[in-house]
Amino acid sequence: MNRVILTSLMLLVVPQLAYGQVASSEDASPALETATLSEENSESASQARTKFAEDESIYVVQERAYSKKKKFELTPLFFTAVNPKFVGYVGLSLSAAYHLRENFSLELMTSLPYAVFPFYSPIVYDVFYYEDLTPERVDLKQMTHFTGLSAQFSALYGKFEFYGVLLDYDLYATAGFGITLTKTPCTAKIGSSNASTGAGEGECEVTDQERRQLGFGLKTPDELADYLKFSAQLGGGLRMFFTERLGLRFEVRNIVYADRANYQGAVTTDIRNIMLLFVGATVLL
């Protein structure tokens, strides 16, 4: 009996504080509505109150429609670079996450083999054609693969109303580390039909298209440390489910690594910030 009285008091008082300006005089508050429920509804309301009291939490954006706790989430994603200064990217990746708690998960994300398509941005072609210049060699290196293990923290959740349809979503931040694989520019081999350089400078086969465009090709760097880079990954995103299992995910992730190019002893270095925008369909298993 004491519990019911205490719960009723909480329902009357707490919403006024928690809901603030939501509860106006003309909009009956949830507590007031509950208080006027009919006899047959009062039993279920009482149960709700009991749970409410046990939980001791008041969720302003209540009636969350899906739960991620103790579930695997599998997400195929399309990605594109947001800031393609010299090199742009489009491609496909796959993310697998396990939600240890409702707001915390561990995630493994990897680009799919042969599904990363780097390309040089217009600025590279413009300065090459009109000014006979090329960016530093390290700036022309391309990322061909990335894999990362991240911790995902999802403290914020909410709902959108789309013409009367309610959409649940949650926002998350992600941080982790991983590896990236790179390719470096190379000039045509001596004796190749596309040789564009003098003796001693050729490094790789260059296709006709590459020869016509920028005059160089791409190859795997000779040194492992220039090929495989340890990277930090930071990002944030939004996931929105349309059923308990199916939804959409949007994410921006920055892949940061120290890059280095060695061309005939001339070393150039740079801190690469590759910001990728991901969009994908997500499944809770």
Partner: protein, 271 residues
């Protein structure tokens, strides 16, 4: 950029179709469905219909090629429907060249070094970078249609909800442009100085504007706004020439010059 545009369209289109059917949730994972008869989200705390607001926003360019911009934007928005509005904006941005152009190993740095090494051909015109998309935006004015289909609440902490609205915009307007000229100057360490001519609406260009943003309501009369907005216009450039001396207006081809800005600031409800 084209890929991104197509993707955005597909995502928006497909999610719109999907969202036309209510989501099919069946479970009550948090045991809180019985707390209220009606979801709190349906209580639109900050209705926008028939409201007028003025926005004051800081403006900075992003994804810069040869120029970066910083400036400000003032706009007025009138919602004639809860999710539809018309927006009129005025802005001014100050353009400056990026390190790709100004560094010692950048475009101008290389040209200046060549001048120093060759001691010939050092006229100011030859020092000016000859690349498309070199123009900077100055002032701009545009009118846009705003579609704000998503009104949302965010559970910031368990007892505080933030009301927000997500919108996209599409419009047209006019903007001024300018180019930075380069003068060889032995009296400064970098051996060149920059100058610009033109003001608010110098060499005006009609443009398209497009983008999207989010508005977070703080008070009845004030909201935080952040948006990404593109300004794009058709410009011409002689792609066959290799310098200003060789270029000929007759050979100039049209190309699309896109500039992207992130705007952040406050908006104040007037009525």
């Amino acid at each position: 950029m084209r890929v991104l545009t197509i993707l955005t369209f597909l995502v928006c289109f497909s999610t719109s179709l999907y969202a036309a059917e209510p989501p099919g949730y069946e479970a009550d994972p948090f045991d809180d469905y019985a707390l209220t008869d009606e979801s709190l989200i349906l209580d639109i705390e900050f209705p926008t219909a028939y409201t007028g607001e003025i926005g004051v926003l800081f403006n900075s360019s992003m994804i810069d090629e040869y120029s970066s911009h910083l400036g400000g934007l003032v706009d007025f928005t009138y919602f004639y429907y809860p999710t539809l509005a018309v927006n009129i904006g005025f802005g001014y941005v100050h353009g400056s060249l990026t390190p790709i152009v100004t560094d010692q190993q950048g475009i101008i740095g290389n040209k200046v070094q060549k001048c120093i090494d060759d001691k010939v051909g050092c006229d100011d015109a030859s020092l000016k970078p000859y690349v498309p998309h070199y123009k900077q935006i100055t002032g701009f004015a545009n009118v846009s249609a705003i579609w704000a289909p998503l009104y949302g609440k965010l559970n910031l902490v368990s007892e505080l909800d933030l009301n927000l609205q997500v919108y996209v915009l599409l419009g047209a307007g006019i903007n001024g442009t300018q180019e930075q000229d380069v003068q060889y100057n032995d009296n400064v360490p970098e051996r060149y100085t920059l100058s610009t001519e033109g003001g608010f609406f110098n060499e005006p260009k009609p443009h398209f504007t497009y983008g999207g943003g989010i508005k977070v309501f703080i008070l009845d009369w004030m909201a935080l706004r952040t948006e990404i907005r593109g300004i794009g216009f058709f410009d011409t450039f002689d792609m066959t020439a290799r310098s200003y001396a060789e270029s000929d207006d007759k050979n100039a081809e049209a190309y699309f010059a896109g500039y992207y800005f992130v705007n952040a600031g406050l908006s104040f409800t007037l009525f």
